[in-house]
Symmetry: D2
Subunit: 361 residues, 4 copies
C-alpha cells in the first residue's frame, strides 16, 4: 500500500489486466445479486404415458449389468441444459427391473430413495438387509451404504428413484464404489429394520443407531396409508392438505440430511393455498387427477405423472376429481436449506390466478 507499482494507464488496460490476474470487478457484476432467486429450473411434467413405454422398451435394449449399473431413465430438467438433474439439487428417475435380473451392488455418496410404482416382491438390499417392495412403499439407500436390487419374482418391477446427485455434484463430493461381487452378502433377516424401527411409539433400546440417516429402510405403504387415513377430516396444511413427512425414528427428524420425503392427500375438490419456498421438489402422482399451479401456470396431472417444482415459485395443488382422493409422493431438499440457514417461505395472500396452461412438448 505504501509504494504503488507501476500500473497500466488506461481503463481498458486496467480491466484486461484484472482479467489476466483472474480477478473480477465486483462493481461490474450487478446482476449476480438478484432481488430474489431467478431459478433456471423449469416446471415440467414427465407423463406416465410417455416414460413408461420407453422404460419398458429399455427393458429390451439395455441389460442391467456392471458399468451401466441400473436401467433407469433420469428425468432431465429442460431448464438445466440436459444435465443429470430434475431440479438443481435433486434428480429423479424411473427404473425397471425385470424378472430374474439383479442390479449390481455398489455405494455412493449421493443418497437415494425408491418409491415403488408397480410390481411386487422384488427387493432392494441395503447393507445386507433385503427390503421386499410393494407399490407405495418407500425404501431408503442412504449415502455410502452398500445396496443392490433383485427381482426373483415373475413380474417386472418399476419404481421411482430420487437422489441428491445435483447437490453432491455441486459440492464436488461424488464418491462411488462398485462392490466386488454382484450381490452384497445377506446378513440380516428380510425387512429387519422394519421389525426393529417400524412401529409407532416404541423403539428397541438394545440397538443404538448413530449418524444422520434413518435406520428404518422401508416404509410400507399399508402403514403410510393407514396414517393418512387416520388424519380424518382435519384441515391439515393450508398449502399441502393432509401431509405427512417420513421420519427418522431415532431423531424424529428428516430421513436423510439432504433430502426429505413426503406423502400428501388432497380430498375431492380440495385446492390449497399458494406459497413459495426456497426449496425444490419432485412429485409423483400416486393416484388421482389434479393440477398444480406454478407461478400462474396450470399443470394438469394424472396418476403416474412426475413433476419438477422449481425453487421460489408460487404453487398450489388441487384435486380435480369430485369423488376420489389424490395422493402425491414427493422428495424435497428441505433438510439442506434448513441446515444451511437458507430456508425461507412465503404465503400467497390471495388465491393464485391461473394465467396460462402448461403444454406438453
Amino acid at each position: 500500500m505504501k509504494a504503488q507499482a507501476v500500473y497500466p494507464d488506461t481503463e481498458t488496460t486496467f480491466y484486461e489486466e484484472v482479467k489476466r490476474a483472474h480477478l473480477l470487478p465486483l462493481w461490474k457484476l450487478g446482476t449476480l445479486l438478484t432481488t430474489e432467486p431467478l431459478s433456471t429450473v423449469a416446471p415440467y411434467i414427465w407423463r406416465r404415458s410417455r416414460y413408461l413405454p420407453l422404460l419398458l422398451q429399455a427393458g429390451d435394449l439395455a441389460p442391467v449389468e456392471r458399468g451401466g449399473e441400473r436401467r433407469a431413465l433420469q428425468l432431465s430438467n429442460p431448464g438445466l441444459g440436459g444435465d443429470w438433474a430434475t431440479t438443481h439439487t435433486l434428480v429423479a428417475a424411473v427404473q425397471l427391473l425385470r424378472p430374474g435380473e439383479t442390479a449390481p451392488a455398489h455405494r455412493h455418496t449421493p443418497a437415494a430413495i425408491r418409491f415403488i410404482m408397480e410390481g411386487q416382491g422384488a427387493y432392494t438390499a441395503v447393507n445386507g438387509e433385503r427390503c421386499y417392495m410393494s407399490p407405495g412403499d418407500l425404501v431408503l439407500t442412504p449415502s455410502w451404504e452398500w445396496h443392490d436390487h433383485g427381482n426373483e419374482t415373475a413380474t417386472p418391477i418399476i419404481w421411482m428413484d430420487g437422489l441428491d446427485v445435483p447437490l453432491v455434484r455441486a459440492l464436488q463430493s461424488m464418491f462411488f464404489q462398485p462392490y466386488g461381487e454382484n450381490v452384497y452378502p445377506v446378513s440380516k433377516p428380510a425387512n429387519d429394520s422394519l421389525k426393529l424401527f417400524g412401529a409407532g411409539g416404541v423403539r428397541p433400546t438394545f440397538t443404538k443407531p448413530k449418524g444422520m440417516n434413518s435406520p428404518l429402510l422401508i416404509y410400507p405403504w399399508d402403514q403410510t396409508l393407514a396414517a393418512l387415513e387416520a388424519l380424518g377430516d382435519r384441515e391439515g396444511s393450508p398449502f399441502d392438505g393432509l401431509i405427512l413427512e417420513y421420519t427418522n425414528p431415532v431423531t424424529g427428524g428428516h430421513v436423510m440430511p439432504t433430502m426429505a420425503c413426503y406423502i400428501q392427500l388432497l380430498r375431492p375438490g380440495e385446492r390449497t393455498r399458494a406459497h413459495r419456498q426456497t426449496t425444490s421438489a419432485v412429485y409423483y402422482v400416486l393416484r388421482g387427477e389434479g393440477q398444480t399451479v406454478i407461478n400462474g401456470l396450470r399443470l394438469r396431472w394424472g396418476s403416474g405423472d412426475l413433476i419438477a417444482l422449481p425453487p421460489w415459485v408460487w404453487h398450489d395443488h388441487a384435486n380435480l376429481s369430485p369423488g376420489s382422493d389424490a395422493v402425491l409422493f414427493s422428495i424435497q431438499d428441505t433438510p439442506t436449506f434448513e441446515a444451511l440457514g437458507l430456508y425461507r417461505e412465503e404465503a400467497h395472500e390471495s388465491p393464485q390466478m391461473i394465467r396460462g396452461e402448461y403444454q406438453d412438448d
Copy 2:
C-alpha cells in the same frame, strides 16, 4: 485473615460454636462420601392378591371427589419411611374408577403415566383430548397438563399410575392447580394425538409440537404388542431381553424429561444377565410368572404384581414358565440421570448367585 478474632479456647467450644454458626466440619462427615450408593430404597413386591381387594374395597369407602382427587393406593416403599415414594424418585399407585365416576380435572408439575390393568373404555382426558383406555395401553399426562378421568362404561377400570413425585418433592417444585370445573372442556376428537402421531415412520408437518414432552398421549397395546412380536427371535438386550422404550415421536427420545417407560418380553425359560444402574424402576407384571434377582435376593413374581427396584443394585430377570412369555412394563428415572450426567451402568461378569428368597410380609 490478617487479624484473627478472639475465638474459643477449647476444641469442644469450637465445635459448639461451629454448630451454632450453622456450619458443619467436613472432616467429621466421612460417611457422607460413600464409595458407592447405599440406597435406602428397599426391593419390594406389591402382590396383586393383596392390593386388588383393598382397591376394590376402597371403591366402597372412598368417593372420587374434589379434595381427595383420586381413588389411588400409593405404593409406599418400606425403606423410605412411609413416604409417598415407591423409589426415591418415582411413585406408583393402583387406581380404581367405577362406572359413572369422574376424577376431577387438575394439573400439577409431577409428570404422570397410566398403564391400564383392567377394564375397557373409560377415558383419561388431557388438555381436551379424551384417550380411551384398554388393558395394556400407556397414557401420558405430562407435567402441568390439565387432565381428568371418566368412566362412562358399565364396568370398573383399574390402572397403574406412575409419577415422578419424589423427585419433584426433592426439588421442591410442587405446583398443583384444580380446574374450576369438574371436567376440563373437550376440545379435540377422541385419541386425537394417536391419529396425528401414533403411526410408525411418518409424522404430520402441519403441526409442530414444542417442549420436552411427547405429543403422543396414548400408546395402544395392540400396537405395542405387534412391535414386541415383530422383534421375533433376535437376542435383544442381554440384561432385559426383548425390550422397547416408548418414545416421543417428535424427538425419538424419552416420553418425558424425568421418566421413561419400557415394555419388555422374556421368552419361556429366559434368564438375563445381571447389571446395575444408578437409576431405579417400578415394574408391573403384565403377564407371566418369573423372578427378579436383586443383589442375590430372589423375588418371585406373577401376573399383576408390582415391584420396586432400587438404584445401583445388581439385578437380572427370568421367565420361569416353560411355555409362555412374560411381559413387564416399567417406569424408570433414566432421563433424569442422563440429563444430569449421573447415569452409570455396570455389567455383572458371571451369573448372579441367588443367596436368599424374598419373603412377603
Copy 3:
C-alpha cells in the same frame, strides 16, 4: 377384579390393612399437592465476621489429611435439619489450606466449584492440570474428576466451595474414591485448559472435548472483571443488574449439567426488580455493601458474606453504597431445573415491599 377377596369389615380395619400392605391412600394426602412450592430452605446469611475466625481456628485444630480429606466448614441451612446442605440441591463451604499443606487427591460424583476468597498461588489440580488460584478466580472440579489441592506458598488460602451434594444425595448417586497417592500425578502444564480454552472468540480444533462438563477449569478474575467492565452502562437484567454466566466454551452452555455459576455487578444505588424462580442459589459477596429482599424480608450484607436463597421466593438485590460497585458471585441449580422441565420464573409486578429485617442469630 372378578371375585373379590374377603376384606375387613370396618373402615378402621381397612386403613390399617392398607398401611400394613405398604400402601398410602391418595385421597388422604391432600397437603402433598401444594398450590406452589413451600420450601423448607431458609434464607440465611453466614457472616464473614463469624465464619472466618472459626475457619482460621480450624487451621489449628483440624489437620488436612486422608479420611477428613478437606478442612472445610459446610454452610448448613437452618431449615434443612442440620444436613450437609445450604439449599436443597446445593452446598457451599469455606475452606482453608495453610502453607505447606496438601488436600489429598480423590474424586466423587458431586460436581464442585471453588471461588477464591483470599490468598494467592496455591493450586487446585484436576486430572493432572494444576490451576493456580488468585482471589476472584473460579475453578471447576467436575463430577468424577480426580482433584487435589496444594499450597506451596507462604500464606494461607481461603476459598468458597460449591457442590451439588444435596442433589446427588437425593438421587442416591454418591460415588467417592480416594486416589492411591496423596497427590495425583501432574501430567499437563499449569493452567493448561486456560491456555487452550480461555480465550474469547476462538478455540483449538486439534482437541475435541466431549461430555457435559466445561473443559475450561479456571476462569481468572482479571478476565471476568474485564468482561463485567466491558458491559459499561447498559441496563443489564432487570432482576440481576449486569450479570454474566460462566460458560462451557465447547457448547456455550452451563459449565456443568447440575450447577451454573454467575457473577453480577450492581451499580451504586441500583436496586433490581423482584422475581422468583424454581431454582435456588448461594451468593458470595465479593465486594460491596447491599441488601437482598426475600419475600419481604430484608437481608443486609457486606463483603465476604454468604447467603442462601431458597427456591420460589421473591427476591431483589440492591447496592446500598452511593459510590462503589457491589459484586456477587453465585452458584445456582438452574441447569438441573431446565433439564428436567421444572424451570419456572415469575416477575414481581410492583417493587417488593420490605416487611421485616433479617436478624442474625
Copy 4:
C-alpha cells in the same frame, strides 16, 4: 405397464425419443459416478504484488456507489470458467475503501466475513452496530443482515472478503436488498457485540441471541494473537499446526452455518502432515514465508498472498523461515459438509512428495 404404447423400432430411434422426452439413460452416464471427487477447482495463488496495484488503481477508476455497491476484486478461480467463485462454494475478494468513502447499506443471503489487511479505524456496520477495524481483525456480516462500510479516517483500508456466494448460487437462493438510505441507522454503541460476547469464559444472561449465526461480530486481532501465543509449544494439529477456529460464543460451534474461519500458526521450519478433506478453503497469508504442497505441486507463498485450496486434494503446509512464525487465516466450507453428512477426511500416510513447482501465470 399393462398395455404398452407403440414405440420406435430401432435403438437409435429409442435414444432420440428418450432425449426428446427429457430423459437420460443412466446406463450411458458412467463417468458421472466418479470413484472419488474430480474437482474442477484449481489450486491458485493471487499474489499481493499483483492484486494490490490493481486494487489501488481501482480506487481511481471505480467509485463506491449504489449499483456497484463495493470496490472489490473477486478472486476468480481459473478452473471455474471465469465465474464469481474462488472455490466451488466460496468466493474471496480484496476490497478497498478510501478516506471519506461509504459503501452503501444492503443485505443478501450470502454470508460474508472480512479479514482486515491494512488500514485502521474504518468501520463495518452490521444491523446498527459499527465494528471498528484494525489489521488482523475478523468481522462477520451474516446472511441477510444489513451492513455498510465507512472510512472516516485519513488512510485507505483494505480487507479480504469471504463469502459463500457460489454455494448460494448453486442452491439458487440469492436474495439481495439495497437499503433505502446509503447508511443504515446506527442504533448500538461501537463494537457492542464485542463488549457483550467477546470475553472468554463468560456470557451475559440478559440477552439471548437466537439463530444460526454468531452474535459476536468482531474478533479483534490482539485477542486472537494472544490466544495463538497461549498455545505455546504444544504440538497442535498434525495437519495444521497451532490452529484455532473462530467460534459462535452462544453455541461453541462454527460462526455461520455455511462457512467457518480459522487462524493457524506454523512455527519456524514446521512442515505439517498431508491430509485431504471434502472441504475447500481460501487462505490468506497474514505473515511469513512458506509453502503449501497440493497433490504434489508446491506453491510457495509470502505475506499478503491468497490461495485457493480445492476439495479432496492432499495438502500440507510449511513455514520456510528459520526464524519467524507464519500465520494463515482461512475460510473453509466445513459447516456445509458436516451439516449435509458429506464431510470426509483422510490422512496421508507418508510425507507428501513434491513433484512439481507452481508457476505464476
